[in-house]
Symmetry: C2
Subunit: 379 residues, 2 copies
């Protein structure tokens, strides 16, 4: 019986899962290698957690926020439920707080791998999501926030992605402000109005902080203008430290990456489920997709800040790397000649028998060059 | 709530799944990159199938041999069963015969990724298995067999693995011989005896081919001695081509890789579930584990030969690559100085505040060097 004998029409993949073909798969691998190399050069050491864990471990703590997006499997060995990882940050937090609890802090870790999410039936989106990221565990400071953002920006620059923008938010600022002034029963409606950027409803529901929230709504945009507008506001003492930290983090990022495009949205708190401080979303003018996201959270008992890039989105935003030129060579070319071609950057494609017409066969195999008289000749 | 808040004792992973920590994860990634680079230089183009597919697609044809080792999941989107891949060869066969059906042949594909197997409860073994491999699709020739073996040997050499041995077998030879001479009802007992290398039972059950099988049992060992012994046998015409092909493949491998250690076991047919010709197992004298396996099979309608290496086993057999020296640098070191350190091969580890005692902090962070007076100094 042959391996794979179905008809093409039966060979469909589940929605959200795809093959990467030659070219695409190579570009993805090179993109991941490029960002992982940038992380490694800056002292972030790679860890590799498994594709699945016991459900109790993977979805514990705030990892539970991803529970509805997680595939589960019965482990026939332990009779316990396992879960396919929908995200790697919980795993890195586990490694930091258990396996590497005695490693010195700050602890800098990097990772790459695939995650699987259930997705929303009927909505087309990737359900196998590549991630490549960093976590800086231990310090809670504007300099730590800035290192993570600046290194993310550096990695994207090395991939050749243009027009990168880091969009910052600080959900604790607006949420804390609402808690000081709005009765608990009324908060959810106000938060929904802020999420919709619905200024009329915010004015109506905002009570004593309606004017402050109106300015915060208007402030969303380039970081320097946003921070100037926010500086005019008189935040209560309980939330003022969040504003000051945002100012300090932006200043520290600017010192490290003066030309990086930064925006601030002081009333963005959508999708930040376990984050406790600065939140980061990465975009590029060359793509409408989110290229990555991250921010500050608590890993076990420790402050941490991380950033996860999405290689699939990076590839759609990055220039396509040139592929290796291919040289068709005779069966049994000497090792030295082959090594010389490889050193010149060629991929060699070997004949498997003696060819009457090597040029024709070379073209047939999409080669750019053919070996003749001791050298590669362009076709 | 924090990300990951369980106690360490609850943080156990399911048996067969593990974390790779700094050093190990880097070594695995470098090992995979090294073999994939060797494959790419020889014209094998990378494809990347998804982690899971519909069960009907992943386990169709002879992929079904892996059915009992495969985790299944319900797809809430299509309400069809999906399966986590236990192996990638079926996926590459699908890509070759459907997605790349119009690509020119010979088609050379490479791949790397993780596979998940159910394993045997109570038996400790990896259940998440990394694979990195090649498939040569289209030609059915000794030269094609030899290209796959020689390229696998080259990749292992580049990884620095010593004492590599390629163990070859040709199950169709002994099976075909048995079919010519032994009644169907008696074949299974004889095959079991051959699997056990039980010469007494083979003599008893072997009927008219008992003497031939005795020589084949004795022949297992270094390829040249094995082929000499087999050459003395008078194989029936129906199986003689298998022997001749084995001789031709060994000769073609020797031409390409004269110093490669080759063995032949003419009565090995354990674990070859979809293979139709030459079968290959890779070992090294530095490790007792199988480093890889492969062989000839039918992909869709086409002849194919492949080899899958197991990066986890390779790492246990390969010398540990030296890790990057780490240089502790002050907060906000100029970009040029940082780039110069990276160009010298250093990973930089940045201070996040001004240090009173940078040498102590550098040692604490396992750095080998510290930046002082404009240069890296060894600690």
């Amino acid at each position: 019986m042959s391996l794979y004998s179905e008809t093409p029409s039966a060979a469909l993949l589940p929605s959200g899962f795809s093959d990467l073909l030659p070219g695409e798969a190579e570009a993805e691998a090179r993109g991941i290698a490029c960002v992982m190399e940038a992380f490694s050069r800056h002292g972030y050491e790679r860890v590799r957690p498994p594709m699945l864990e016991f459900e109790t471990s993977l979805l514990n703590g705030s990892g539970g926020a991803l529970s509805t997006q997680t595939f589960r499997l019965m482990d026939p060995s332990s009779h316990r439920m396992m879960a396919l990882r929908p995200d790697m940050t919980t795993q890195i937090a586990r490694i930091a707080s258990v396996r590497l609890q005695d490693a010195p802090r700050p602890l800098r870790l990097s990772y790459s791998g695939s995650c699987i999410v259930i997705g929303t039936p009927g909505r087309e989106a990737d359900r196998q999501v590549s991630q490549a990221g960093i976590e800086l565990i231990g310090p809670d400071s504007a300099q730590a926030d800035a290192e993570v953002v600046a290194l993310g920006a550096r990695a994207l620059e090395e991939l050749g992605i243009k027009g990168v923008s880091f969009d910052l938010s600080m959900p604790a600022l607006a949420l804390g402000l609402i808690e000081t002034a709005i009765p608990e029963a009324d908060r959810e409606d106000l938060i929904q109005a802020l999420n919709r950027k619905d200024a009329a409803s915010v004015a109506e529901l905002g009570g004593s902080i309606a004017d402050t929230l109106a300015v915060m709504l208007q402030a969303a945009g380039p970081a320097s203008r946003a921070l100037d507008l926010l500086a005019s506001l008189d935040f209560p003492a309980s939330v003022r430290p969040h504003f000051e930290r945002l100012v300090a983090s932006v200043a520290a990022i600017r010192e490290r990456a003066p030309s990086l495009r930064l925006t601030v949205d002081p009333v963005d708190f959508r999708g930040w489920q376990y984050h406790t401080g600065l939140c980061i979303t990465v975009f590029s003018t060359t793509s409408r997709e989110e290229l990555g996201r991250g921010g500050r959270y608590i890993a076990g008992q420790e402050p941490a800040c991380g950033l996860t890039l999405r290689p699939q989105a990076l590839l759609r935003a990055a220039p396509v790397p040139p592929s290796r030129p291919r040289c068709y060579v005779p069966v049994r070319l000497e090792d030295e000649a082959m090594a010389a071609l490889h050193a010149q950057g060629f991929a060699t494609v070997s004949a498997l028998e003696v060819d009457a017409e090597p040029d024709a066969e070379a073209r047939h195999l999409r080669c750019t060059h053919v070996w003749r008289n001791g050298a590669a000749h362009a076709l």
